[in-house]
Amino acid sequence: MFRTENWRHFDFWLLGVVVLTMIFGVAMIRSAIAGNETLAELPSRQITWASLGFLVILVVAAIDYRLWGGAVRWMYLAVVLFLLLLYFVGGQRFGAARWIETGLVSIQPTELAKIVVIVSLAYYFARTIDRPRSWRWLLGSLLIAAVVAGFIYIQPNLSNVIVIMVIWAAMAWIAGLEIRQMIVIAILGFVLFVLAFFFFMEPYQQARIYNFLFPDPNASYGATYNVQQALIAIGSGGLAGKGYGHGTQTQLRFMKVRHTDFIFSVIAEEFGFVGALLVIVLLGFIVYRCLRAARLARDPFGVFLAYGVAVLIFFQGAVNIAVNLNLIPVTGLPLPFISYGGSGLLSLMIGVGLVESVVMRHKPLDF
């Protein structure tokens, strides 16, 4: 398994930038805590997670990604069971059952589920690469995504449902989704969304979308408070920001959930346009390296795997930044590698490990 020659192709740029981004993230979490005593240990916890993640990258990279193909069914089953378990014993946080409290840490199975969906879809699309792009083929892939998405939906966790469906759509697109299928799916998706909005969504989810579409100009301390404060933070950051630990919006805690959902605003406030752009560049570089791996991959499974991880990182990052910039309604997606959160970080690390595994083995032999 540890054939040394493969490590020559290990993407040190990818690993390096991921580590750099995580370090930056830890620094920003430290600033974002802003003296809140109950959050004081988060940076060190994040360091623990990041260190663990570093090991995970190396271990996952070392394992030949093709081995996962055989284990896909078991992995998928395990995740579904995990999610089911969550449904019955999960601890509630902020109104949603998303966590399993173990003795040591609380695990969020949803994060892991996203990786498993990527692996499963990659395996499915790779195996069916020569088949005709029939409705049966498409529905087969949709089933893989939808079952997991369904369990995530009942948590409820709408944003991760969207993440999974976007991953599915993006992978199906690459796998050769036909235009007419796409149109039908788009129409169906829209109808489903409208139906869901009126019949299935929780009031808070409806309110978020409603608040985004029709903001109330008088409600500065109500529903739009968080986004408004984030915009103030970003806008007042200017070109170079107010300096590390000197962002007034952050340090005086006018922004909420600073260390997770709105950490991008913390960066934009304390490091200004330069810092915000740096984050985009760093994440963009990571996505680019994943796509590079997809391009280099020796087999379709590797292509889909690396591509899926790229889409995951890109989409989560884009959604998070778009929320911060008030371009889309508020969702709870973290900023990859930077926001606080162990499970999310670990899952992304597994993803990066998979990409490394793909890129390490892109040439059959290298003498």
């Binding site: 790779a126 690469i129 993006a170 697109w173 690459i174 796998a175 050769g176 404060q229 915009l231 103030i232 933070a233 970003i234 806008g235 007042s236 950051g237 200017g238 070109l239 007034t248 919006q249 340090q251 005086l252 805690r253 006018f254 934009a268 200004g272 346009f273 915000a276 752009l277 985009i280 963009g284 996505v287 796509l291 391009r295 280099l296 991959a297 020796r298 087999d299 379709p300 590797g302 292509v303 889909f304 889409v311 890109f314 884009a318 930044i321 778009a322 910039l325 371009l327």
Partner: protein
């Protein structure tokens, strides 16, 4: 490229379309960032600054009000409020509950558990500190707004409870004592009409005060009396701190050097509290004894004023009924305020300056001065004063007129009246018949009377018909009518009868007690009308006496005289309004058979005229039949006193309802004014009693008692070596 034919054989354009999408997203982000951070930066920065900065107004200490001897009439005392800072309460709800329980046991306030939404909503409608909601409700309300702002739980607790709360602060985290300055009036009721009280800044001027740095929700302003008139002097300048706050409202640091508040200036009044107390006691004792004598509340209200006629310093200004301004100090209780407001006796008003009554015979000083100065009568002329006089009432020169009886006050006791008397005895006996003749003329005896035009001039020269400009709010101007006034306001011609009764201070003539006193003071002071004042000096916090002027028109205090009528109030100087023997304040009229026309000239009063009126007033005390020559007034008084009584018929709603507004049956107000010593008057006292009856019998004893008190206080001061 190779990718198209890579291992998967997937078409390149599909990848490229994804890259393109990603590129667009990044471009959108970058442009959005640029827009927020470059184009709109200013606005967002302003909002961020606005978030973190808070301007805090630091209340200044309100100035203290002293009487002329340094006795405190208004000050600030500490009031203790129990407050809870929600952010500092224990984390454990059980601990919080324990704190509430123990606090509840100490204060008797409900804990407020169970804390329901409904109970919080109810508390929301109430002002802080209103009894009713429990501790938990108040805390819940404050916690949701600003957890670092102390929430008032119970206000104005005793010092003992405040100390207990302080001692237990270690056991009760978050619970504290807030010290709030509250106005305190040591003399309360005794000086309420003069000092007034404070109230919240009214909504219509809230913005103006906010612009000066005051907090309309916290700071108070004067609502009455000296507290209102001298508000700008007393209120001080608020300090200002600009602090950085966090989202919970916790102050972190000063962003600018703090500006400390400047305490208000202290005001020293001309009032002598001892004399004020004597005046109040004399007034109330007299009213009470008469009411007891009659067996019902006959005399409903009264006023006493004492002034130095040479300087205009008001030494006492008492009234009954008045109110307890300490009850209005912390908040203005609605039921109490409404009770005062609806009282027909108007206890909230300062009756000495804002109530207008017919002056009755005290007004004869004006008629006397005019008649003598205009040559209507001479000192040697003998006037026939029978008990009843038949006079013709005409509304125009061609009106044949109705003959009406006009009675003297003595008629009931002696229908023959005072008989044949000279001018000075007219004053001393206060003969109505004599003054009817002087005022309106009497064919064959007084061919040309003084007439209303000239009477008005002399009355004004003695202080009637105009506000005095004293530094107190709500002063009324009184009324000296003339034919033009009657035509406009009554739609009727002036009649000869109007002149007759105006000559004795009846009919349309109205005056405030202060004006009546000023007329006596002007005569007493040899024709010099002094500006009445209650302010002796105004000192800043270091004790420096400030030079300040009062503008009686705008009711403002300025550091230089701004308008006609402005006069210096600090440091005290006697301000002469005019000297009727020198300043030509009297418009000259030529009168012919009851009708007068102005010559456009102005003239003065001859000094001997003033001196003669003084003698007439002195004779009221010295002559056996004088109105003030009684045991309970000034008979054999050791100090030479001069004065004038008045028994003023009136008709108001009360009298009308009792069917008393008819000839010979009118109810009467009692007046008496007297000054002493006769040669160099240093005190003039006036007493007024509503529905008191005969002035010399009812009001004169009050003046006598206050006069006694004045000279007793003076002898004490001399004995103690103080300046007299």
């Amino acid at each position: 490229m190779r990718i198209a034919a890579n291992a998967s054989g997937l078409p390149l354009w599909r990848f490229l379309s994804v890259y393109l999408l990603m590129g667009i997203v990044v471009a959108v982000f970058a442009s959005r960032l640029a827009r927020l951070q470059f184009v709109e930066r200013e606005e967002w920065t302003l909002q961020a600054e606005d978030n973190r900065t808070e301007e805090i107004s630091v209340p200044p200490q309100r100035g203290i009000i002293y009487d002329r001897n340094g006795y405190i009439l208004a000050r600030n005392i500490a009031s203790y409020n129990i407050v809870i800072t929600p952010a500092y309460l224990p984390d454990d709800p059980a601990d919080v509950e324990r704190v509430y329980r123990e606090l509840s046991a100490l204060t008797g306030m409900p804990t407020g558990f169970p804390l329901t939404e409904e109970s919080i909503e109810q508390a929301k409608l109430l002002r802080a500190c209103t009894p009713g909601p429990g501790i938990a409700q108040w805390v819940a309300l404050g916690e949701s707004n600003a957890p670092y702002d102390p929430v008032q739980i119970q206000c104005n607790v005793g010092q003992e409870i405040a100390m207990i709360v302080r001692e237990r602060s270690a056991d009760w985290p978050g619970v504290g004592i807030q010290i709030e300055p509250v106005r305190d009036y040591p003399t309360g009721y005794l000086t309420a009409n003069l000092i007034g009280f404070l109230g919240p800044i009214p909504a219509n001027v809230a913005e103006a005060y906010r612009a000066q740095g005051f907090d309309p929700d916290r700071d108070k302003v004067g609502y009455a009396g000296v507290e209102l008139a001298m508000d700008e002097v007393l209120i001080g300048t608020p300090g200002r701190r600009v602090v950085e706050v966090d989202v919970a409202g916790q102050e972190l640091r000063n962003l600018e050097p703090p500006v400390p508040p400047v305490p208000g200036n202290n005001v020293v009044l001309t009032i002598d509290t001892r004399l004020q107390a004597a005046a109040q006691a004399a007034l109330e004792t007299e009213i009470q004894s008469w009411n007891n004598y009659y067996g019902y509340i006959r005399i409903s209200s009264g006023v006493v004023i004492a002034m130095n006629p040479q300087t205009g310093e008001i030494l006492a200004m008492a009234q009954y009924p008045t109110y307890e301004n300490n009850r209005l100090a912390r908040i203005i209780p609605e039921y109490y305020y409404r009770q005062l407001e609806q009282d027909p006796r108007h206890p909230l008003n300062n009756a000495a300056i804002s109530a207008e009554y017919p002056p009755g015979s005290t007004f004869k000083l004006s008629t006397a001065t005019g008649a003598l100065n205009e040559g209507v009568v001479t000192l040697t002329q003998i006037i026939d004063a029978p008990g009843e006089l038949l006079l013709t009432e005409r509304f125009s020169p061609t009106d044949p007129g109705n003959v009406r009886p006009f009675r003297d006050w003595i008629f009931d006791q002696n229908p023959a009246g005072f008989g044949r008397i000279d001018f000075l005895h007219c004053i001393a006996y206060s003969s109505n018949v004599c003054f009817y003749k002087l005022g309106g003329g009497y064919p064959g005896e007084i061919d040309n009377g003084l007439e209303i035009w000239r009477l008005q001039q002399y009355a004004r020269s003695l202080g009637y018909d105009r506000r005095s400009g004293i530094e107190l709010p709500g002063e009324a101007s009184g009324l000296i009518p003339d034919p033009t006034w009657k035509r406009i306001n009554r739609g009727e011609n002036w009649s000869t009868g109007d002149t007759y009764i105006a000559s004795v201070g009846q009919g349309y003539v109205l005056a405030t007690p202060l004006q009546v006193m000023l007329s006596g003071a002007t005569i007493a002071n040899d024709g010099v009308l002094m500006q009445p004042t209650v302010i002796r000096e105004i000192r800043d916090g270091q004790g420096n006496v400030l030079t300040l002027f009062w503008n009686p028109v705008a009711h403002t205090v300025t550091d230089r005289p701004l308008e006609e009528g402005s006069y210096q109030i600090s440091p005290f100087v006697p301000n002469v309004r005019w000297d009727i023997t020198r300043d030509p304040v009297i418009e000259d009229f030529e009168c012919e058979s009851g009708y007068c026309t102005s010559t456009g000239l102005f003239k003065t009063v001859e000094p001997w005229v003033v001196e003669s009126v003084q003698r007439g007033m002195r004779m009221a005390v010295t002559e056996p039949l004088g109105t003030l020559n009684r045991d309970y007034s000034f008979r054999n008084y050791p100090i030479a006193v001069a004065g004038k009584t008045g028994t003023a018929e009136y008709c108001d709603d009360v009298a009308l309802s009792q069917n008393r507004c008819s000839f010979g049956n009118w109810p009467t107000h009692s007046w008496t004014l007297a000054y002493a010593p006769y040669d160099t008057p240093e005190i003039i006292i006036i007493a007024f009693m509503y529905n008191g009856g005969e002035g010399g019998v009812v009001a004169a004893p009050v003046v006598r008692m206050v006069m006694d008190a004045y000279f007793e206080i003076k002898s004490i001061d001399i004995a103690e070596g103080a300046a007299p």
